[in-house]
């Protein structure tokens, strides 16, 4: 980097960068989006810490063993895992410029995401129906906050997915759309990584207590 020195007023140096080059549009998007994901990771770390501290405070209310259905969680986990795989296939199709195949895989990904959300919401509804509401105990407050925040992320991911499918349909696989699809890919896989922590620390460890 070259720094040139010029004088505007007498005796007063002014420094400026001479060889400031032009940045291509979206040049720094990937790094910026990764930094966003890392900040999101810190949010989840705090929520996991809260659950770790409060997760065994039942206030004489229901415990994980009374509430969780592990086979349902296993089905949910497989849905999210499959949606990560199908998004990966969508990205491979994008790389080969096969728009139709990519849109198809995105539809499958969205359906798996919807199935995941549906099962999670029905689980929540069942718990609330049995009186296990967020205000029942510290365990349930932290449970609904942690798992609900993950579910909200999946919800926004689905909205984003549908938006991008419309954008690809109207504008095609332009550079901007490729960039957006890669960002959503990172977001979607990241949510799967967070879910590993949720099914391990919340559901499996909860059943062991």
């Amino acid at each position: 980097m070259t720094v040139a020195m010029g004088t505007l007023k007498a005796g007063e140096p002014v420094f400026y960068v001479v060889d400031e080059h032009e940045h291509a549009e979206g040049d720094s998007t990937m790094l910026g989006f990764w930094l966003y994901l890392m900040s999101d990771c810190l949010i989840f770390a705090i929520l996991f810490a809260v659950y770790g501290v409060l997760g065994a405070r039942y206030a004489a209310g229901p415990a994980p063993k009374d509430l969780f259905d592990l086979s349902l969680v296993a089905v949910n986990t497989s849905f999210l895992l499959l949606s990560s795989l199908t998004y990966g296939f969508a990205m491979l199709s994008m790389q080969q410029n096969r728009v139709g195949a990519m849109q198809g895989w995105l539809v499958v990904t969205g359906l798996f995401g919807l199935a995941f959300l549906g099962i999670e919401l029905s689980e929540f509804a069942h718990m609330i129906h049995e009186g296990a509401t967020p205000q029942r105990s510290a365990f349930l407050s932290s449970f609904f906050t942690l798992v609900g925040t993950h579910g909200l992320h999946v919800t926004f991911g689905l909205v984003w997915l549908m938006t991008l499918m419309v954008q690809v349909r109207t504008r095609g696989l332009i550079e901007a759309n490729r960039r957006r699809l890669i960002c959503l890919s990172m977001f979607w896989h990241f949510l799967d990584v967070i879910w590993i922590g949720v099914f391990t620390f919340v559901y499996l460890m909860g059943m062991l207590r």
């Binding site: 080059h21 032009e22 940045h23 291509a24 979206g26 040049d27 998007t29 990937m30 790094l31 990764w34 930094l35 890392m38 990771c41 810190l42 770390a45 705090i46 996991f48 810490a49 809260v50 770790g52 501290v53 592990l70 086979s71 969680v73 296993a74 986990t77 497989s78 895992l81 990560s84 795989l85 990966g88 296939f89 990205m91 491979l92 994008m94 790389q95 550079e175 490729r178 960039r179 890669i182 890919s185 990172m186 896989h189 990241f190 799967d192 990584v193 590993i196 922590g197 099914f199 391990t200 620390f201 499996l204 460890m205 059943m207 062991l208």
Partner: protein
């Protein structure tokens, strides 16, 4: 930084972020095994709780790494190493937040007066 004349970013990034079909399938197969084993361990309950807890936590850690490599395509080269730097910083922060909170709050709980003794004090 190479030439900025053409649009080098996205095709390059797409290559880096799509991986290969076999890579996706290997990552998926590994994830299925790393998910099925902890679920079966907890559902069967054949091992004692301490051992089961340690095994499922270890398998979760391995699966996070598997996802990072095969699905998120993390490596030390992307974005000139800055993604890896951000990841390492985040891991340090996560470890401090999680282990610090659990350690401090565990000691706070164990050193507090138990609830059943509070009723006996005048």
């Amino acid at each position: 930084m190479s030439s900025h004349a053409h649009l080098p970013v996205d095709h390059h990034a797409a290559d880096a972020h799509a991986g290969t079909r076999s890579g996706q399938l290997i990552g998926f197969a590994a994830s299925v095994v790393l998910t099925a084993v902890p679920f079966l361990l907890v559902m069967n309950g054949s091992l004692d709780k301490q051992a089961t807890a340690l095994i499922i936590m270890a398998l979760a850690a391995v699966q996070v790494v598997v996802h990072m490599i095969f699905f998120l395509h993390m490596n030390t080269r992307s974005e000139g190493g800055w993604t890896m730097m951000a990841l390492i910083f985040t891991i340090v922060m996560v470890v401090i937040a999680l282990s610090g909170s659990l350690w401090v709050m565990h000691h706070l709980t164990t050193n507090m007066m138990p609830a059943h003794e509070m009723g006996q004090t005048p």
